[in-house]
Homo-oligomer: 356 residues x 2
């Protein structure tokens, strides 16, 4: 497989990952440490982008002589509290901007950022461009340890979505499920308040028609409890609902963990209580561990949770490597093209697919 | 306190609750049994509405001689799978319709149904009417055992909501929090994807202005994890989001319970595992236990979960009794009037309340 920049790197060559060393709550320390850990895999080369002094000082704490890691200087960063597009215009040397340009130049195969998702998305969209046929990029992936092979899309990047955008999300999520999770012919569900076609708000009812007419393996509306029943491999909703679910799940998991640790504290040994609490947390906090790719930009861009420690950073780098290896970006481009072909082919309405 | 029909019943007289004996997964058996249990409290009189033969046969299984319980005959029921308004037109003698007419006649102080929430809402709206100033009724209440004093509104009855409707929901939820949960000056939050005023979809951003200009104790946007941080006493969202959260929570609670029971099964005695599992289920399945009142109809109407057993039915009857005792319907009418007054007073824009 050629990488997405078409420069002929073979799959056995190290995959070059550019990492925004300034993004994330514990940058640059944990970012640099995570990047150094990833070098141990042997198939990765790292380009750290950040304020030169601090990043080089962090890197100097490790023995990386002869290893494929280097620093590219940038100036400052774009924070979570800044408006991504405005900040990008003012901070043209910010780490996320420079990192994206490294990716665009072909000097890297993938980018990883633990900083502002909005800034990563804006920089990727402006520098790499959107895939043809797409209005907006999005973020999707498994978000729940209890349903680790169920993809939710959008997780928060697009709070108002037209039906055509939701259909694109479905196509992109389907590729992710098929290529990244190895799910053959992924089942797509539209998140709603009832399983019947007539149930849902206006957005869902309008989207449902498009979904039924598409070539996707659409299984109909799914409900809140269907995440646990495995009724769909890809659940589609707008980023408003997705983000509320994501944060609600994190909060619920933490609250249940505290509750259970208090309940079990005098019944079981501390290390058992600790282990159960930690497992429970993981059941509900999946996305913190490996990050997830942006869907729909012309390049492999993985965003991770801002609170990631070194292991989380390494996990996000691993996700980026895997996305390159499986050709996720090419797969998504092809799927969007098929969607667009299908839309042209169905200018004449065709019969609805049978309900599941 | 006079009851809401103004017929002078004093607070010490039994509160007369009309119960739809045909609604619910285990009707009429569990409905009748729950109603009989409620008689033991001594302050309740029950009118069961349903198919005469089956309901009287159920009632004959208990010794209720001399107790204030009677049966009013109806014909058939409206199911969850029927369109509420269409079904009401066709089934004019259905149990929910007759029960609502009993309430409207003044022969009962409150109504309880475990059947289709849509049918209860349609029947209450058409027979009792909406409170002045309201476009649509809604369903709200605590929905999460981990946050038993946090009211979510709307829980699913209105999937597309204009900002003015969300503001009405906030006012109604505020009365419920103050009168039913004894929370002084309840804090209102608008469910969104970030705490800042600029975060949210179009619906939330437009609503936020109305909320800030209202007399309500609005604390700004709240996020998914804020349910567990106690940032607001009343969280407002449309019924699409509310219903997804409600069902998601139920599913998550059940899945975590199964997971933990498996984990703990070989470490703790069965009865301890059973107790922890049951507590965990209750942490996430609050609304099944006591039902909740419809907000905004001119009468006390409590709807409960269709899967309620006799204890759940008795709980819903208890909720109805309490709503009558605290004058919830009058309180809601007054709050909507104040909201409408405030809207008139602010034809001239006034300064925004300070952010929390």
């Amino acid at each position: 497989m050629a990488n997405q920049h078409g420069n002929g790197a073979s799959i056995s060559a190290p995959i070059r990952v550019v990492v925004d060393a300034m993004g994330g709550d514990f940058a640059p320390q944990e970012i640099v440490q995570g990047a150094v850990q990833a070098l141990d895999w042997g198939n990765v080369a790292i380009i750290l982008v950040g304020d030169q002094g601090p990043v080089e000082a962090e890197l100097a704490r490790y023995n990386v002589a002869g290893k494929p890691i280097k620093v590219v200087a940038s100036v400052g960063k774009i924070g979570d509290d800044e408006h991504p597009v405005q900040a990008m215009r003012q901070k043209r040397q910010a780490s996320i901007v420079v990192a994206t340009q490294v990716l665009k130049s072909g000097a890297a195969d993938a980018m990883v950022s633990l900083g502002s998702t909005g800034a990563s998305m804006a920089s990727a969209t402006m520098n790499l461009g959107l895939m043809e046929g797409l209005e907006r990029p999005c973020v999707g992936g498994p978000f729940l340890g209890l349903a680790p092979r169920t993809v939710l899309v959008d997780l928060g990047s697009n709070v108002d979505c037209r039906p055509t955008l939701l259909l694109s999300f479905a196509a992109l999520g389907s590729v992710f499920a098929r290529q990244f999770l190895n799910i053959e012919n992924p089942r797509i569900g539209l998140l709603s308040v009832g399983a019947e076609d007539a149930k849902g708000n206006r957005q869902v009812q309008e989207s449902l028609k498009l979904f039924r007419e598409s070539h996707l393996n659409f299984v109909g509306n799914v409900e809140g409890h269907d995440f646990f029943a495995g009724r769909a491999d890809v659940v589609v909703c707008d980023g408003f609902v997705g983000n509320i679910l994501l944060k609600y799940t994190e909060g619920l998991g933490s609250a249940l963990m505290s509750y259970l640790q208090k309940q079990l504290g005098d019944m079981l040994p501390p290390q058992v209580v600790e282990r159960i609490g930690s497992e429970l947390w993981q059941m509900t906090n999946l996305p913190r561990t490996g990050g997830g790719p942006l869907f729909g930009v012309n390049g492999t861009v993985v965003v991770g949770h801002g609170s990631s420690n070194a292991a989380g950073v390494a996990g996000a780098i691993g996700t980026a490597v895997r996305c390159v290896q499986i050709g996720l970006v090419d797969g998504m481009r092809q799927e969007l093209a098929a969607l667009s072909q299908g839309a042209k082919a169905t200018q004449q309405p065709r019969p609805h697919a049978p309900a599941p």
